[in-house]
């Protein structure tokens, strides 16, 4: 499907250029276009990175969850490869979400970590679970065993996240924490527009990364299949050295 020299193609080149252009637009709009927030001043510009990152973290992990289910029920290796690629990208975006959330918090509420932010805490636990997903994938063993193990973790994470969210929410409401006021305000037109641009850019970047990462995994897989054929030949050759008398 792809020239095995590199994983690029017309699609990814177009996407890639769109991402770069979009990023430039986002930076310009973000820094010079959108107005300052009265309370948070410049820190609010984090929103243009933090929110899209968060949204696409969940998009990525949803893809992983779907892929996990498709592996378990249909043994679709294509879906398993997609799930793994999406998980890697998701962990990246998740880390970015947590980091920007933390950096945003410092000047705003004078704290690097806000235990009172339900979404943030839930995202942290999700982050840890998906790190677990990735470490399970690197445990070794056959292709099927790895896929099955990872898929079970993927499904477990998907099913447990609502419970995690609910428990953090209840915990949060029972303890006296300050709440994060993310969607509090009425967003001005230009801020809203910039946010939308952010979503679009992140979406393009997600797609671009997913395609590339998938193709790398797929090529690796094809290599392994070719290795297996080679290994079979070598294995049979072992036998030739030990042939007994003619039957």
């Amino acid at each position: 499907m792809v020239d095995s020299e590199h994983t690029g193609s017309r699609t990814t080149r177009i996407l890639g250029i769109a991402v770069i252009l979009g990023l430039i637009a986002l930076i310009l709009l973000g820094f010079f276009g959108a107005p300052e927030d009265d309370e948070q001043r410049d820190a609010v510009r984090m929103i243009f990175v933090h929110v899209p990152s968060a949204i696409f973290t969940y998009v990525a992990f949803t893809v992983t969850a779907i892929g996990s289910v498709m592996w378990l029920f249909r043994r679709s290796i294509w879906w398993d490869t997609v799930a793994a690629a999406a998980a890697e990208i998701g962990v990246l975006f998740c880390g970015l979400t947590l980091f920007t959330g933390s950096v945003w918090g410092r000047p705003t509420w004078n704290t690097y970590w806000d235990w009172g932010d339900v979404r943030l805490v839930t995202t942290l636990i999700l982050f840890l679970m998906m790190i677990g997903y990735l470490s399970v994938r690197s445990l070794g063993g056959g292709e099927r065993a790895t896929a099955t193990r990872a898929a079970i973790i993927g499904v477990l994470a998907m099913v447990l996240i609502p419970i995690v969210n609910r428990s953090v929410e209840w915990w949060e409401s029972n303890t006296l924490h300050q709440k994060s006021s993310l969607t509090d305000g009425n967003l001005e037109d230009l801020t809203l527009f910039t946010l939308v641009v952010g979503f679009v850019v992140w979406g393009l970047f997600f797609t671009w990364s997913l395609i590339h990462r998938f193709r790398i995994s797929w090529l690796e897989r094809e290599l392994r299949v070719r290795d297996l054929d080679q290994a079979l030949v070598e294995r049979r050759a072992e036998g030739q050295e030990h042939e007994g008398p003619p039957v």
Binding site: L128, T148, L156, R166, S167
Partner: protein
């Protein structure tokens, strides 16, 4: 099915009884953790009071990890996993039996730990039913999730270090819920402990179902 569950649980518990590991190693470890927390918090009475529930459940989580490691290790030594496959026992029964054995061992240690917090942290039980119910429900969840994940990493190198990474985030809601319920039961904070029990029950149910379904696939393919 129920007979198989009893068979597996009985086997695990009998092995445990023979080796006395829970009694001679895990239990002292759990109590030691409580004592160490006491040292760390400088026996500062108000802090200790407020933190009792949390410290109790953290100790339980550590004990749970150990119990699950042991439970999994029993089957990986000497090809027992393969033999279980050959024997044709219903995988769900193996899962439920092993989880049951882990849960019972955990409950045993928790009983001792309750004694521990009463003695070392001067805790007083306001609602015994809530306390007992929390222990049972939370333990079911811990045992189920632990047994499932233990089977997932069985037969893999570095299994001892991967299991905590997988299990502890999964058990986060249990820690949150059980601690709050204990706060109510010990009278340290005014929360509705019984509401939290519902959440814990949900967690337990999900893990039991998932574990029963996934155990077969894991035995077969990994």
């Amino acid at each position: 099915m129920w007979a198989d569950i009893r068979l597996i649980a009985g086997k695990d518990l009998r092995i445990e009884w023979r080796s006395r590991i829970t009694l001679s190693q895990v239990l002292p470890f759990a109590l030691l953790v409580l004592v160490l927390f006491g040292f760390a918090l400088d026996a500062n009475r108000p802090v200790l009071d407020a933190a009792t529930s949390g410290l109790f459940w953290i100790a339980v989580l550590f004990v749970g990890l150990m119990a699950v490691q042991r439970s999994t290790a029993i089957e990986t030594t000497d090809g027992a996993r393969r033999a279980l496959l050959l024997a044709g026992v219903e995988p769900a029964a193996v899962f439920l039996g092993k989880a049951l054995a882990v849960a019972l061992q955990l409950l045993f240690v928790e009983t001792a730990l309750v004694g521990g917090v009463i003695v070392f942290y001067d805790a007083s039980i306001e609602s015994f039913p809530l306390l007992a119910a929390t222990c049972v429900v939370a333990t079911v969840g811990i045992a189920a999730a632990g047994t499932l994940l233990g089977a997932l990493v069985a037969g893999v190198r570095a299994r001892e270090t991967v299991l905590p990474i997988l299990l502890l985030p999964v058990l986060a809601p249990v820690l949150i819920g059980a601690t709050r319920a204990f706060d109510d039961a010990l009278g340290t904070v005014a929360v509705d402990g019984w509401a939290w029990l519902g959440l814990l029950a949900g967690f337990g149910a999900i893990n039991i179902v998932l574990g029963a379904l996934a155990y077969g696939v894991l035995l077969e393919e990994t």
